[in-house]
Structure formats: C-alpha cells, structure tokens
C-alpha cells in the first residue's frame, strides 16, 4: 500500500471513529443524563423519593452495565438490523454504543450529582423551589464541573467501545487495526492506529479537564 492510499484510508476511518464517538456520546447523554438525574432525585434521600422506580431503573442500568460491550453488541445485532436496516457499519455500531453507554453515563451523572452539597439543595427547598427548579438551577449547575469531567471519561470510554466494534465490521480505526494489523500482518499500520487513538484520548482528556476547571467557580 502506498503512502497516499494509507493516509486517505486512515483519514477516512478516523472520521468514522469521531462520528461514532461523538454521535454516540451525544445521544448517550440525551438518554443517560435524565436517567442519572432521575436516579438521584428518586433515591431514599432525594428530593422526590420513589422507591419502586429507583430500584427498577437501578436494576436495568446494572444489568446492561454488567454485560461486556463486545457480547452486548453481538447480542443486539439482530435487533439493530430490524430497527435501522443494517447490522454493520458506523450507524449500526453507534446504535449499539448508545445502548451500552447510556447506562454508564447515567451512573457517571449520578456520581457527579451526589457530590452536590445536600445543604444547598435543602436551602433551595426552603426557598420554595420546585423539583424542576432544583434540578435545573441547583443540581446541574452546582454539579457542572464534575459533570464535565465525567463527560470526558464517557467520551473516552465510548471511543474505546467504537474501536472494539471494529472486530465485527464496524468501521473506524479499530477496524483498520484488525483488518490490516491482524489479518494482513501489517503491524506498522496497527501501531499507527494505536498512536492516533492515544492522541485522541489525550486531547479529549486534556480538553475535558480544562473546560471543567474553567467552568468551576470554586477555585479562583
């Protein structure tokens, strides 16, 4: 393979990886953030305790999280094929990523919001704030730095999932590493994809930390 083909291949597959990672993260947050918030407020010490919902939702989240991603993906394939028409390629993989990552995101959000000082929530309750106002103006705002750090962790995790999806023909950098590095014995290409992945993780982590620190008014 000449350099030109190699570069265009890596460029294309990197874009696919980015697509899967960012769409996957975005949709995982659209689903996982409300679930995480609901787990916090319905917990026994929450502002709207709702034992049954909390237990059931917690159980669902745990069940999905306990299945390794690779196995979950393979198990989900027939259903994904029914819903979006195909079982391979970045679109199908993104769907699987979301199913796996949303519960993970929900737990990350839950952990972040647990750090919000219960005294401040109590103060808002004493002021007559509604549940919605407490979620919006207290929990999400006070938890913002921790939520952003969590988002960096989630994005990196989803990037890892997307690379794993390469083994089942998902496309992206993971796919390149397996097809060229493993099946065609071209370790150099495998190492290039690894370097690209490492750089992407470094950038995500660094950007996440910086944004979280800049948005945190506690350290000044």
């Amino acid at each position: 393979m000449d350099m030109q083909t190699l570069f265009s291949l890596l460029g294309e597959e990197t874009l696919k990886t980015l697509y899967m990672t960012f769409i996957g993260t975005l949709v995982s947050y659209l689903i996982g953030l409300p679930i995480g918030v609901s787990l916090i407020i319905t917990s026994p010490n929450g502002i709207k305790p709702l034992g049954f919902y909390n237990k059931v939702m917690g159980f669902i989240v745990n069940v999905i999280r306990s299945v390794p991603f690779l196995i979950l993906m393979i198990a989900l394939m027939p259903y994904i094929r029914i819903v979006i028409g195909t079982g391979i390629g970045p679109k199908a993989i993104t769907a699987a990523l979301i199913v796996a990552a949303a519960p993970f995101v929900a737990r990350l959000v839950e952990q972040s919001l647990l750090e919000v000082d219960p005294g401040v929530i109590e103060a808002a309750q004493a002021m007559g704030a509604s549940t919605f106002q407490i979620i919006w103006k207290v929990l999400l705002l006070e938890g913002r730095p921790s939520l952003l750090n969590g988002a960096a962790v989630a994005t990196i995790n989803i990037l890892g999932y997307s690379a794993m999806a390469g083994t089942v023909g998902g496309g992206g950098l993971g796919d390149v590493a397996i097809r060229y590095g493993l099946y065609r014995f071209q370790p150099a290409i495998m190492w290039i994809t690894i370097v690209i992945l490492v750089i992407m993780v470094q950038i995500l982590q660094e950007v996440g930390i910086r944004i979280a620190a800049r948005m945190d008014n506690r350290i000044n």
Binding site: D117, E122, A123, M127, K137, E142
Partner: protein, 356 residues
C-alpha cells in the same frame, strides 16, 4: 386567635431507625408572635434542628399542625407550600450558598425562583448587598469569601423574598466570636428595623442573650421551659435551663470543707443594681466580710444583668445587717439551704423540681 405568626400545635416527629422508633419531637406546642426574636436553645440531640425544620416543613411532622400566618401548612399541596415557603427564609450554620454563583447571583436566586423579573431582582440584590455591608463583593464567589461574609450573603439572600420570618439554624456556630457578634448585631437590626420575626436555634446562651426577647428550652424533644429571656435568666425554673444559662457552674467542684456551705445567698442584679459597687459598700457599711463563691455579669439585649453567690459573715448579727443592707439596696436574693449545690438552687424561692 391572636397575632401569632407561627403556631405549632401538638407537633410530634418520630424517626424509624434500625433500633426502632425514635421520638425526636414529642407533642410540641409553641406560639411565636409577630416581631418576636424567639430563641430555641438546647444541647445537641435535643431536637431543636428538627423543630425548626418542621416550621417550613423540610421535616414533615408525624403528627400535629403547623400554622403560619393563619394558614395551616401541614397537609397542603407542594405548590401551595412552595408559595408559603417564600415568606419563611432560612439561614444555616454552613451558609449553604451556591458555590457556582457569585454573591449577587446567590441573592438573586430566591427571586428567580419566585419569578421576579431579572432587572428588578438585580437592583434589589444590589440594595441588599449594601444592607449587609458587602457592596464591594458583589462579584466574589463563595470560595473567595470569609465565613462571616458568606453568612452576610446568606442573610441578604434570606431578605430577598421579603420574608415574614427568618429561621436561623445555628447561624453563628461556625464563626469566631468577633464575627458572631457582628452577625448577631445585623440580625437584631433586621428584627428591629424591618419587624421580621426571627426563630433562632442555638446551643449557645450568648446568642440568646444578644439576640432574643423570648426563649424556649428544649430537652429530649420536649420544651421544658419558655418565656421572656429576662425572666428565665433571672429565675430559671428547670435544671436544663440553669445548665444552659450557667454552663461552667456545672463543672465546678468544691473541695470538701474549703468553701462554706452555710449562710449562702444567691443575688440577682438588675439594670438598676448591676452598676453599683454593692458588695464593697456592704462590707464597708456592715464592717463584716463576705466570701464570694460565684459571680457572673451579663448583658441581655444590652441590659446589664448579674448573678452572684456569696457567703455571709459567720457572725449572726453581722449577717442580718448584711441582709438588711441588700434589701435596702433593692438586690433580689434567695437563701441557699445547706447541703444543696448552689447552681441547683433557683432564685426567689421557686420550688419546682430542684433536682432530678
């Protein structure tokens, strides 16, 4: 019905714990008049924090009624409750400010919740910053403020919703003595100038003395004594009240035989007698010595008050002359019987439960 702003009627709170039911509040009846600065004092675990939290229903009582400004709060819907809560502000030991908002943002917060237009809220918040003497710290975040400054922001925030009542839950317990004084002064000013009723939860008698006109003493989830601060200070009826008003007398051990146990008097000084050199004059006039066992001067809302325990002369005639002198000077006194600890003995012959 008279003008009670807060009325607790038979309020009981039980908690379920692993070791069974714990009664935190037992049939509390408490009426607080508009404009009062009502102190609730007790040792930790007495139930005072639970009590104050039942007033705005942060703690749902197991039984009983909470009436605020003529309206029953217990049992109403959360929407109505939230509207009533805007009239009952609260300040806390740990300030509980939003860490991600600056001072002015924190003060705007209750107004945001109530739907006050932004510009109007902002103008009012600036006004309130002046009231609490922090106009130059409008854009500081809580992490950049000292404890006293944080509590001032919290007080401004409490004032933002034009409340009828401010509940103060150990509001000065995390502050040093000097800052405590300035915060208490500010709260008193708010009580006097704006007529806002204060409910002051504390374990420190000094807070009651400097801030309150009424006080209730709470012990084991029950109010054991209540009334005007002046009155309870001069004549504490229960051991719990005496323990709180004279905390150090509890630990004082009198070595056997060293201090007299006979001929003892407890003196109470009021605003008229507190400034006079009574004891020196008594010694000069009667020509007989007295032994001073305990003395304490205090200011109650700026009025000087004092307690003293003295031992009169062994000479019977001299002792009689000394008593006559005290009567002439208008000093209240009670004789303390032999064998009883002087801090257990109430003033003016109150006979109720001297010991437990």
């Amino acid at each position: 019905m008279s003008d009670y702003i807060i009325s607790l009627q038979g309020v009981t709170k039980e908690f379920d714990t692993k070791n069974g039911k714990v009664v935190a509040l037992n049939d509390i009846n408490l009426d607080i008049e508009r404009g009062d600065s009502y102190g609730i004092i007790g040792l930790s675990g007495a139930g005072k924090s639970t009590l104050v939290r039942t007033i705005n229903l942060l703690e749902q009582p197991t039984d009983g009624r909470v009436v605020f400004d003529g309206k029953t709060l217990t049992g109403i819907g959360s929407r109505d409750l939230n509207i009533q809560r805007r009239k009952i502000s609260m300040i806390f030991q740990q300030f509980n400010l939003l860490m991600q908002r600056d001072a002015i943002g924190n003060i705007c917060f209750p107004m945001e919740i109530a739907g006050v237009p932004k510009a109007q809220a902002r103008a009012k918040a600036e006004e309130l910053l002046k009231v609490v003497d922090l106009e130059d710290r409008a854009h500081s975040f809580p992490s950049q403020l000292s404890g006293g400054q944080k509590q001032r922001v919290a007080i401004a925030r409490a004032l933002a919703s034009d409340p009828e009542v401010i509940l103060c839950d150990e509001a000065t317990s995390a502050l040093d003595p000097k800052t405590t004084r300035s915060i208490l002064r500010l709260l008193r000013q708010i009580n006097e100038e704006r007529g806002i009723t204060l409910v002051v939860i504390t374990h420190e008698m000094n807070v009651i003395k400097q801030l309150c006109n009424k006080v209730a003493v709470i012990e084991n989830g029950e109010i054991v004594e209540r009334g005007d601060v002046q009155e309870i200070f001069a004549k504490p009826k229960t051991r719990a009240a005496r323990k709180l008003f004279f905390p150090d007398s509890e630990e004082r051990e009198t070595p056997e035989g060293r201090t007299a146990t006979r001929n003892r008097l407890r003196l109470a000084f009021n605003e008229k007698t507190a400034y006079k050199p009574i004891i020196s004059n008594m010694i000069l006039e009667t020509g007989a010595p007295v032994n001073l066992l305990y003395a304490n001067m205090d200011a109650l809302l700026d009025e000087q008050k004092g307690q003293m325990v003295i031992c009169l002369s062994d000479d019977h005639d001299a002792a009689e002359r000394q008593k006559a002198f005290l009567i002439r000077e208008g000093v209240d006194f009670t004789e303390i019987p032999e064998e009883s600890d002087y801090y257990d003995y109430p003033l003016n012959g109150f006979s109720e439960e001297v010991s437990e």
